[in-house]
């Protein structure tokens, strides 16, 4: 069933505003998506009716908040097909999820060990591993990317050795939209007994995510890139791994019994959730994911693919255009450069015409440099973007190029 995009747009009040006198065309969804009223209402309802600290209180409100919080965890677990809610740890977002694993994992890393990442990682799934390698005198190995923006799987297989302790890979590239074959990658890594962390930041709102099917050991994502609020995200970990890992932070909630001599830690997932969690965020994330479920991720994917394909086709017809990232399997992201034009100039003029795109290296400097560039212009799509908006974007790009050339 096709989505009624005009109806969906009504759920997102921010979209109806004007920017620089022009209707806003929001194409920066890879940075953050807009939020539907359902999510905003959920936040208001929480603070109006349910706010209380979780897990500790004997009183009514605390029990309500705790129940909803744990229901949210259960829902998230179901949404990504985890085996059980205990495998869902609430974090501040993808970045914290990756830092968390890279920090607690250091006890398994020794001098000369290797960590394999890819050339298309966001800095969030690169710097934490690089710094871990620095601390432990381990080596960071990087899987190259071909001209189309796809991972070189052959190289991947060779780079995983007996010294490899972790493979960290993006599900979807934030610069190019490439969908990586994570199932194949986990199979390759597991053959050699190596765990895999998948950065799902750019996938969660665009693709069905099934952590059991992809068989990854860790999966990280943020709510704010999936129509939910900022400041809440998830680290999924297989139970066996989460049990093996030591706590990341210490404090309230994550403990079992504390004396001045020693502390025993709480069970999963609480041993990883020190301090008061972002309860409201978790509840609103559930609402956002339910919104996606209600619209059906397959419908969303089909719609976004169609708009992406349409915009890409039109863009390539403009003179001197180079699309960065033409993988066979890609989603929702259109990165490009125009001959002789600085991305910043193009982005500035597009903004004048009410179009929100992103310019620069998109927190993936090594990847952008791999293509011999210092930056790109990136248009990224979401559930509410229309063909008409794609037309406006293309028309504006053409006008900007005429001005700049």
């Amino acid at each position: 069933m096709a989505l009624n995009i005009q109806q969906i747009r009504k759920d997102f009040p921010v979209l109806s505003q004007k920017v620089n006198g022009k209707p806003l065309v929001y194409l920066d969804n890879a940075a953050t998506t807009q939020k539907p009223v359902q999510v905003m209402e959920r936040i208001t309802r929480y603070y109006s009716e349910e706010n209380s600290n979780v897990h500790r209180g004997v009183h009514h409100l605390s029990q309500v908040a705790t129940e909803k919080f744990e229901e949210a965890r259960k829902y998230v677990a179901g949404f990504i097909h985890a085996n059980k809610p205990e495998e869902i740890v609430f974090t501040r977002g993808t970045t914290e999820s990756v830092n968390f694993v890279a920090t607690v994992f250091q006890q398994f890393i020794g001098e000369g060990d290797e960590i394999v990442i890819t050339a298309m990682e966001h800095h969030s799934n690169l710097v934490p591993w690089q710094q871990l390698c620095h601390r432990k005198k381990a080596k960071l190995k990087v899987v190259p990317v071909n001209e189309k923006g796809e991972l070189e799987l052959g190289a991947f297989e060779k780079l995983i050795t007996s010294k490899t302790k972790m493979v960290a890979v993006a599900h979807v590239s934030n610069v190019m939209g490439t969908i990586n074959p994570v199932e194949k990658i986990t199979a390759l890594a597991h053959k050699k007994g190596v765990p895999v962390l998948v950065d799902g930041a750019q996938a969660i709102a665009h693709l069905p995510v099934d952590v059991r099917k992809m068989d990854c050991d860790f999966y990280a994502f943020s709510a704010h890139k999936a129509y939910g609020p900022m400041g809440i995200g998830v680290l999924y970990g297989k139970e066996e791994w989460l049990n093996k890992l030591p706590p990341y932070q210490f404090g309230g909630e994550m403990v079992d019994h504390v004396s001045f001599e020693k502390t025993t830690f709480n069970v999963l997932p609480y041993k990883f959730e020190a301090g008061t969690p972002n309860v409201c965020g978790a509840l609103a994330m559930e609402t956002a994911l339910r919104y996606i479920e209600e619209k059906d991720i397959e419908n969303i994917r089909q719609h976004e693919d169609e708009v992406l394909e349409y915009a890409t086709g039109k863009l390539k017809k403009l003179p001197g255009m180079r699309v960065i990232g033409e993988a066979g399997k890609k989603t929702a992201v259109l990165s490009f450069v125009a001959d002789g034009i600085h991305p910043y100039d193009l982005g500035t003029l597009l903004d004048q015409m009410g179009i929100a795109v992103r310019t620069g290296h998109h927190c993936a400097q090594p990847l952008v440099e791999r293509f011999g560039l210092s930056g790109t212009v990136r248009a990224s799509f979401g559930i509410y973007n229309t063909f008409k908006e794609a037309d406006v974007f293309i028309g504006a790009t053409k006008q900007a190029l005429d001005m700049l050339r």
Partner: protein, 145 residues
């Protein structure tokens, strides 16, 4: 012309343009006009950090006045840089240090000064003032010795 008068002159020039399109077209022309600095100054040393587009700035002193030259790889940035240079070049360190930069707000380019833009114009103005500070100190030392 004083720094203040030059700023007013720019404001007057921009008043002609009602539409943003014409305004930007003018900035782009200014960007294309900017006298490039010698390639030897397009190095890390003269690069202003914090810019999404790269900006190189070089300053020299002649007869007590500072003259700036600059370049950028983005043409809109270059156009705005051109305006800044026009305002500040040929003035004494004290004049530069005392000056407020208001014209960018008045002509509707204040967005380019916001920290979120990360195009480093703010750093550029800081750098211009820093040059003035350094030249001032140098000339004070000279007159003492």
């Amino acid at each position: 012309m004083t720094i203040q008068e030059k700023q007013q002159q720019i404001i007057d020039e921009f008043e002609v343009y009602e539409d943003w399109l014409d305004k930007y077209a003018y900035i782009i022309e200014l960007g294309k006009d900017l006298p490039l600095i010698d390639e030897k100054y397009k190095t890390q040393q003269y690069l202003i950090s914090g810019c999404q587009s790269r900006v190189w700035l070089h300053a020299g002193m002649k007869d007590g006045k500072i003259f700036f030259k600059a370049d950028s790889d983005a043409v809109i940035t270059k156009g705005i840089v051109n305006l800044l240079i026009r305002v500040f070049s040929g003035h004494t360190p004290d004049e530069i240090l005392e000056a407020d930069v208001e014209f960018l707000n008045t002509i509707g380019l204040h967005d380019h000064l916001s920290p979120t833009r990360a195009n480093g114009l703010q750093s550029m103005i800081k750098q211009i003032k820093l040059y003035a500070q350094v030249f001032k100190l140098k000339s004070e030392q000279k007159s003492k010795s």
